[in-house]
């Protein structure tokens, strides 16, 4: 199984947000159904992990994935990008075959 990875830029931002928040083990990435094109990404702080979770570590940041999402996220890289004034996290997911226009949801 190919791991989920995180770029250094994304890890730096996650660390900063975690510091601001004052607590949290890392971030949880996942997918869930719904959205205009099938699946949607989930990106959340993690307060507790479950025994079945996959935990990856990159640039000092823990990335937690539940087993159900793992099948959709294998080999995905989490990046942090800037587009003009806007900035945020981006999933680079090799499993994606199509996205809705805005990219908030996708199909595999």
């Amino acid at each position: 199984m190919r791991p989920v990875t995180i770029t250094e830029a994304a890890a730096n931002h996650v660390r900063r947000y975690l510091d601001n928040r004052g607590s949290g083990l890392g971030i949880r990435v996942g997918v869930r159904t719904s959205g205009c094109s099938g699946m949607a990404y989930v990106l959340e702080f993690v307060d507790e992990t479950e025994a079945v979770d996959e935990v990856f570590e990159g640039h000092g940041v823990k990335v937690v994935v539940d087993p159900k999402s793992m099948v959709y996220l294998e080999g995905t890289e989490l990046d942090f990008v800037k587009e003009g004034l806007n900035e945020g996290f981006e999933f680079k997911n090799p499993n994606v075959s199509g996205e809705c226009g805005c990219g908030e949801s996708f199909t595999v």
Binding site: H13, R16, S34, G35, V42, F45, K68
Partner: protein, 621 residues
């Protein structure tokens, strides 16, 4: 690809449902905008990296008003067309404002108006111009439309001033979630609203004004007990005193306006530097260098600082509380960086003031936090966190798939709605099958209830809009209702979802969903592919029934029918790839038939229209 932000656990918004809210500090001298992103409230800079937007608007005879630094540079050239400190005029009549540097219009009683080269401008319009720039900055930064804003106002603003602020927001096309008192916003920024009951003093020394407010926190709600201050006392007065000192040192009688400005600029720089060091060089172009020590500075501004403490004392007396009753003191405004000010505040209140958050941005940050809660990105903090949903709740969609509406671990009470549509032409009823569980296919989930929505008016497939709402109240009762939006037909059912489920049964359902994740993905894709195939077959069949005889040669029709039969037979295959190829190939084979139907219907629409009517149609486009 949309850029994502990190949510609190269990709070990730569904696609296109994330709400974007701004907190706006609409200040007398400067304005700021902030927003919560990935859990942190931060002020948003403009493209040049500036956080502060000078609250200045320039109106010329032509063109759009200019706002901010662009307007500020025009102030000396066009003093009457460059509106500054309009906040002082909000909700005010000419009677209320005695003297002004502007030419004022409007009746004695009604809203005051500025006479500018662009005509009469109300303070509401000028404020709207400032809000417009801040909202645009928010839209660009968040990459989305703004769903709502919280705008801060001084605690002493009366109803007319508050209404004028709301009007300005409306004029700027913004939805006001709430007007928030500036001292309350500062307290919220420090998280004081989540604490127990208590009394908070907010000491706000800005560039031109001083405000002190005494707030009482009672079960999460702030009440303003008293306000006080001096509307003509601020950091600018500190600068003026330092400039006067330098003028005396240089033995200057009447400095030129340019030199006076240079003295003020140097004074401000020296004041700011002296917050960190004990002495600085005071430099003005063309004049010898002076040394200014913190001690001298403190001697100069001491009388002003004393006035703020006297005003604080009065506010405490008005509030009927003693300094010993104060639980927290919050510092707001850039001038509270001056060490003497901090020392005087902590001595008077008998405790160290809160000053970790940048005093220039703390009000905007508090407003952003409040806006984030009010727009619905967080569970309402006033609501008791009672419980979470142990398993996802959803309903069955075509193909035997489970569509989750409320995800597991969502805190209750909660309500979520999703829109569905009809699958067939003329469909007049829809069966709603309510499910619980984490598996992709209906068989893997627990069936909670079934009901039917009837009397849907016959429409083309996909035209009906059926909104299904799942609502779980504080007691864990699930209420599912379905409503056809065009006619308003509605029906619903109430269920207790966790009824009869033991802890270990829930655990087992969760475990199965993890164990079968890969299989579930397969079956979901297969079900979706089968659905595609079935939909294509049904659409094609109804098209053939209508136009097959007239638009297709017998050979063409038979070729299509043969392919359809093959796909229909292959539908039950478990091989996603083969099924997809067969569906795509049939879709391609029917393309020319679809094109012919399109041509025919256009021809039909145009038949019988005269050339003149066609011209009219063309113009209407």
């Amino acid at each position: 690809m949309a850029l994502l932000q990190i949510s609190e656990p269990g709070q990730a918004a569904a696609p296109h449902e994330g709400k974007h809210a701004l907190g706006i500090d609409l200040g007398t001298t400067n304005s700021l905008v902030a927003s919560v992103r990935s859990g942190s409230a931060e002020t948003l800079p403009d493209a040049a990296g500036n956080m502060l937007l000078p609250s200045v608007v320039y109106y010329s005879a032509q063109g759009v008003p200019q706002v901010g630094n662009a307007a500020l540079t025009l102030a000396s050239e066009y003093p009457l067309d460059t509106l500054q400190s309009v906040k002082r005029f909000m909700g005010r009549s000419r009677n209320d404002v005695a003297g002004s540097e502007y030419q004022l219009g409007g009746g004695e009683e009604g809203q005051v108006r500025f006479l500018t080269s662009a005509g009469e401008i109300t303070p509401v319009e000028a404020s709207a111009a400032i809000l417009n720039v801040l909202a645009e900055r928010g839209r660009n930064t968040l990459g989305a439309d703004i769903d709502g804003v919280v705008i801060t106002v001084p605690a002493y603003f009366d109803d007319a001033q508050r209404q004028a602020t709301k009007d300005a927001a409306q004029l700027a096309g913004l939805k006001v979630l709430r007007l928030l008192n500036e001292p309350t916003a500062a307290a919220v920024a420090y998280g004081l609203d989540s604490g127990d009951d208590g009394v908070v003093a907010v000491y706000d020394l800005g560039g031109g004004t001083f405000d002190v407010s005494i707030l009482r926190l009672d079960r999460g709600v702030f009440e303003v007990l008293a306000t006080g201050g001096d509307s003509a006392l601020g950091g600018d007065d500190f600068d003026a005193l330092i400039a006067a000192w330098a003028q005396q040192e240089y033995s200057l009688q009447e400095p030129e306006p340019a030199q006076a400005r240079a003295l003020l600029t140097a004074a401000r720089a020296a004041k700011q530097a002296l917050s960190d060091v004990e002495q600085v060089n005071f430099t003005v172009p063309g004049l010898p260098e002076l040394t200014l020590t913190r001690e001298v500075l403190e001697g100069l501004v001491q009388p002003l600082v004393k006035r703020t403490i006297l005003a604080s004392k009065r506010a405490l007396r008005d509030a009927g509380v003693a300094t010993t009753d104060i639980d927290s003191v919050v510092l707001v405004g850039g001038s509270t960086r001056v060490p003497l000010v901090r020392a005087a505040v902590s001595e008077f209140f008998g405790r160290e003031p809160l000053a970790d958050i940048d005093p220039d941005t703390v009000v905007a940050v508090g407003a952003a936090l409040q806006a984030d809660v009010l727009v619905g990105n967080k569970p309402d903090s006033d609501m008791l966190l009672l419980d979470v949903i142990p398993l996802s709740l959803g309903l069955e969609t075509m193909g035997g798939l489970m569509e989750r509406v409320i995800e597991r671990n969502t805190t209750i009470p909660v309500a979520k709605a999703q829109e569905f549509t009809t699958y067939k032409d003329g469909q007049t009823a829809m069966s709603i099958h309510v499910l619980q569980g984490e598996r992709e296919m209906v068989e893997g989930c627990r069936s909670l209830a079934r009901f039917e929505l009837r009397d849907i008016p016959p429409m083309a497939a996909g035209a009906a809009r059926i909104r299904v709402t799942f609502q779980v109240d504080a007691d864990g009762l699930l209420n599912v209702s379905a409503r056809e939006e065009t006619t308003g037909v509605e029906t619903g059912i109430t269920i207790k979802p966790s009824y009869g489920l033991e802890e270990d049964e829930i655990a087992e359902m969760l475990r199965a969903s993890w164990e079968f994740a890969a299989e579930d993905m397969q079956s979901r894709q297969l079900a979706e592919q089968r659905l595609d195939a079935r939909q294509l077959l049904e659409n094609l069949q109804s098209a053939l029934d209508q136009d097959g005889a007239t638009l297709l040669e017998t050979a063409e029709r038979e070729a299509l029918l043969a392919q359809m039969a093959a796909l229909a037979a292959g539908q039950e295959l478990d091989d996603i790839q083969t099924l997809k190829m067969a569906t795509d190939s049939l879709a391609r084979a029917s393309e020319s038939f679809a094109a012919r139907r399109m041509d025919a219907s256009i021809k039909q629409a145009l038949t019988g229209l005269s050339v003149a009517q066609l011209d009219q149609l063309g113009e209407a486009d």
